[in-house]
Each structure stands twice: as C-alpha cells, then as structure tokens.
C-alpha cells in the first residue's frame, strides 16, 4: 500500500518534473514558475529546502535531471563526485547547475567519508555553470547517460541532441549528434541505466532507440516501437540490477496519451551481447535491434498517462497521469498486476511526473509532481 509521507508546496504553478540523485539524498524539481528547487530527501529532517535555482530561464522549466556520479551510481564508496544537474526549458536552452568544491576546512578523507552530509547541507552554493543553446524551440526533456559524460535533450523541433562533456569540469558541452528521425514534437528522452542506449518518445506515437555505431562513432536509430495510439509521453528502461532483470533482455516501459502503459523487450543473441568482447565488433550494431511489445499493463488510467518509473530496487513500475491516480504495478512469473491505485494523489490536479528515489535512510519512496505545484513523497 502507498502512503503519503510528505507533501511539499514547492511551486506557485505547475510542477513538471522531478529527479533524484542516484547516490545522494537530493531531489530537484522543475516548474512553470521558471524556478527549480532542491530538497534533501530526509524525512527525519522533514525534507529541507536546500536551494532555489531562479532568474535563469525566461520560460517554464520542463525537465530536470541529476548527473550520475563519475563511474556510475554503483561507483565504489570513497569515490568523490560533486553533484550537478541539468534543466531544460521552454525557452529552448539548457542550464547546468552544480556546487563548488567545499572549502578546505575538510581534508579529503573527511570529505569522502561525509560527502553525503556535506553535499546535502543547505550551506552549499548552487551555481549556474553553463547555458547550452542549440534547439530551435521548447525543450521537452533532458537526461544524462549512466556515466555522466553524455547529455541528451529533445525538443518540439523534432530533434534529439546528444552533448558530450567532461563530467568532472562540466565546462564544454559539444554537440556530437543531432537525431531527426521523428516526424513530430519529441516528448521525452531516456538513457539506459547501464549502457549507452537512448530512447525517445514522441507526439508521432512512436518510440525510437539509438545507439552509437562502433566503427564510425555515429549515433543512429536502431529501433522503432510502433503500437501506441496516442502521443508517447515517457519511457524508462529496466535496470540490469533489477531483481526481475534477465540477462540479454533489455526492457522498456512507456506511457501514452492512449491511456495505456506498455512494456517492450528486446532479446539479444549471444553474439550481440554488449558485455562480451568475444567476436570482432565490426558487424555489431549495423543490424537493427529487434523489439517486441511484451505486454500492455492492466488498464488503470482514465486519462492520459504522463509518466512512468521503473524501480531498480524492486522491479516495480509506477505510473501517473492526468486522472490524478498513482498506480503501482508488480510482476510475478512474468505476469503484471496492479499492486495499488491511489486516487487523487494531488487532489483534483494532474500529475506530470513520477520517479522512484531513496531517502537518506535508504528507504525507497515514490516522488510525484503535480499541476498544483506540490511535490508529494510516498512510501510503498
């Protein structure tokens, strides 16, 4: 059962998007009120506000994403990484935010040991580090790859851009690819949590997948998922670490205007196993990936579904949408069922985003963002 832990009145207007840091208890939100807010995911401290990122974007901030730490979220402890995030706005720019190296009152050991405390204290200054321009019009979504050196963004201009940066300095953002395979407005981009596989969801009712060609480094579309009968609002990959993950099987969940939530899967033959280096890689990704609709989750929404999230910890899926419902699905023996439906979880307002996140005490929670400007935290 799902229960409300905390309801934060974060914004004066629609809250569009939330993102949590993979390793630190940090939450960031984005809103029509042109601000982003950073909170500490700690129920003991009652979710204090850490920073208010404002006066940067001229229009709504549509999407935010924390940069995964160097070497991925399962990086060894004692590894130091300064938190940073990207925010994409209707003003067609992306802003990059981060904190300075904490003053040398700590020596490195201290720093490493207590980074969770230090990086999540309100005393840190969150600074604008870069503004990325390039898209013609509104940016709808931004997302970092698992190693934090690639940032993907998509826009109403029907293109997906991939930017490369030095994940330590985050100074230069160089556009290494512009993908214009979609026929319409692109609603969302998402990276595979463990590999450089990118998915984009669009107003043209399709989802496209992209990989980097091995020999000529170019990014190409390696798959199209047809089937949704309305705009696809959001999609998320299953983490290999998820308890229900199966080797060689990549799965994607997608949410759509057609009120359905679908799971797609792609089973790769031995030779295509990304992790193996047995054979020469020359012939690899030339062949398209073969994706199939695995299932349509039991219908639970009576209005468009705007967002889904796939738990790395439990393998559960959560979906939210215009009807204000927060739905959690679980899978056993490959059968998906609805675990819980929470009605009007933002009152009568629409819900724009749902994510799985973990609090400072490592308990997993759901975080939702609604048109009422609230951010709600739920225990499952």
């Amino acid at each position: 059962m799902v229960k409300l832990v905390k309801s934060i009145k974060a914004h004066q207007d629609k809250a569009w998007s939330v993102s949590s840091h993979p390793t630190l208890p940090l939450l960031v939100s984005a809103s029509t009120d042109k601000t982003s807010k950073i909170y500490k995911l700690s129920s003991k401290q009652n979710f204090p506000l850490l920073a208010d990122l404002e006066d940067t974007h001229k229009r709504s901030i549509r999407s935010v994403a924390f940069k995964p730490p160097l070497g991925g979220d399962d990086a060894p402890d004692g590894f130091l990484d300064l938190p940073a995030l990207a925010a994409g706005s209707f003003d067609s720019t992306i802003s990059i935010w981060g904190i300075d190296e904490p003053s040398n009152e700590y020596d490195d050991e201290e720093l490493v040991a207590n980074q969770q405390e230090i990086f999540t204290s309100p005393s840190n200054e969150w600074n604008l580090m870069a503004i990325i321009e390039g898209h013609e019009n509104e940016i709808k979504s931004v997302e970092w790859n698992h190693t934090g050196n690639l940032l993907a963004s998509c826009s109403r201009d029907k293109t997906v851009w991939i930017w490369e940066t030095d994940p330590e300095t985050l100074e230069e953002f160089e556009c290494i690819s512009v993908l214009n395979d979609h026929q319409h407005d692109i609603k969302n981009v998402t990276w595979h949590p463990n590999q450089n596989l990118l998915a984009s969801s669009s107003y043209d009712d399709t989802i496209r997948l992209y990989k980097q060609d091995q020999h000529d480094d170019d990014w190409t579309c390696v798959g199209i998922l047809n089937g949704h009968e309305g705009s696809v609002w959001c999609s998320k990959f299953e983490d290999w670490a998820s308890p229900l993950a199966v080797k060689n099987r990549t799965r994607l969940v997608s949410a759509s205007d057609d009120l359905t939530v679908r799971i797609w899967s792609c089973v790769e033959g031995e030779q295509d196993d990304v992790s193996s280096t047995a054979l020469p890689t020359s012939i690899k990704h030339d062949s398209e990936m073969v994706w199939e609709l695995e299932t349509i989750l039991p219908s639970a929404h009576k209005y468009p579904v705007y967002s889904v999230s796939w738990s790395k910890k439990t393998g559960k899926i959560a979906s939210v949408g215009s009807d204000g419902r927060l739905v959690v699905y679980k899978e056993d023996e490959g059968k998906w069922s609805i675990e819980s439906v929470t009605e009007s979880s933002h009152g009568v307002f629409e819900i724009n985003c749902v994510i799985w996140a973990s609090l400072d005490d490592k308990t997993e929670v759901l975080v939702t963002a609604g048109d009422d400007g609230y951010i709600n935290v739920w225990e499952v």
Partner: protein, 213 residues
C-alpha cells in the same frame, strides 16, 4: 487579417443566442423575499448573529482550494445550496470570445453551440475530476484558424474553470479537413502550455478574449 478566409459567414443574431432563462419559481421567491424583508424589521426575533469584538474570536479560515477540507464542505451544505456548473455556464464563458478575423463572437458565428457542450460533474468537488467536452464548428472546412480558435477557448476555460475540470475541445465531426491533427494539438497539455508562453500568440488570444463578458 487582410483577406479573411471566410469573407461572409452566416451570422446568428445575439438576441437569439441561448441564455439562462429565469426559473419559473420566481413568483414564489418574490413572495419569500417580501416576507423576509418585512419580518427582518421585527425586533422580537433577534436572530441576527450578535457580533462580538473582533479581538475575542479568531474565525477558522479554510481555503476552498485546499485539498483536504472535505469535512468543511459537509458543514457548508446547510448554509448555501450549490449552482452546479452546467453547459449554459460554459457557453456563457466562451460565447463572447471574438473570432480572430471577424468582428463577431464565436457564438454569433455558431462556432460554439450550447448543444455541443457536455459537462460531466464528479461527485466530490475536492477529490473527483469533472469534465467539459466542447465540439467546435469551424466556419469553413479548411479554416486554418480552427486551432487558434480552439486554443482561445481552452485558455479562456483554463482561466475560468476550477482545476478539477478536464477540458476536451474537439472539432465537430466532418466539419474540418484535418480534424485529427487539430484535435491532437488542442488537447496536448504540453503544447498548449508552451503556446501560452509565446508572446505573439498570447497577444492574439488576449485580443480574442478582450470581448469576454
């Protein structure tokens, strides 16, 4: 616009537009009013609420929008009865929007019609979702302004209706060449939100709404 796409549309006279007709109960109401007015002069029934000095009592203050105020709603029932939002009210909200190219209102041009408005109300105002469905009839089948008009209507309603309403605006079947594209756009929350931050577009819409009464 220099050359209107539809130069001479058929126009409905304002006086023939549907309005809320006075309830036939007014006769009895009048009598009630009269009696109320007269008896209010009585000093025998001091049923007036006696004011006590402002300092002493602090009233309980409850916002209507506040999500978790159901129990107050219950108490509310006894002091006021509700005029539910209905199709006529929606019609009144949008009928006076003016057409982007004619100096006429959408109702006069029969772009919006009372009969094409459906209101579905949820049980509980604070938790349940209500829906308004509006089918608009473009003045001509290739009217490129259909989207703009629809957008105008949506903005007007989003400004005037409480959050519990989901607004669906559709082109009336068979009245427009690219029905589906228009519908998809008009009902894409994100597109609409973005459009409303586009200054040129907004000023046109402001123009259209400036005639709203």
């Amino acid at each position: 616009m220099s050359d209107p796409i539809n130069a001479n549309p058929t126009i409905i006279d304002v006086s023939n537009l549907p309005t809320r007709i006075g309830q036939d109960t007014k006769a009895t109401n009048r009598n009630a009013e009269l009696v109320e007015r007269i008896t209010s002069l009585s000093l025998l029934t001091p049923k007036v609420h006696h004011p006590s000095s402002p300092a002493t009592t602090v009233p309980d203050l409850v916002s209507d929008v506040d999500m978790d105020s159901t129990e107050d709603e219950l108490v509310d029932e006894d002091d006021e009865d509700e005029d539910a939002i209905d199709a006529q009210e929606i019609f009144d909200l949008i009928s006076t929007i003016s057409d982007p190219e004619h100096p006429l209102t959408l109702a006069q041009l029969a772009v919006v019609n009372l009969s094409d408005i459906t209101v579905t109300l949820g049980q509980n105002k604070n938790t349940d979702i209500s829906e308004v469905l509006i089918k608009i009839t473009p003045t001509i089948t290739h009217c490129s302004l259909a989207t703009l008009i629809g957008l105008g209507i949506r903005v007007r309603l989003e400004r005037c209706l409480p959050a519990r309403f989901r607004i669906r605006i559709l082109i009336k079947e068979g009245t427009h060449q690219s029905e589906n594209q228009v519908n998809k756009q008009l009902n894409d929350k994100e597109r609409v939100a973005a459009a409303c931050e586009n200054d040129q577009l907004l000023s046109v819409i402001l123009q259209m709404l400036s005639t709203c009464k």
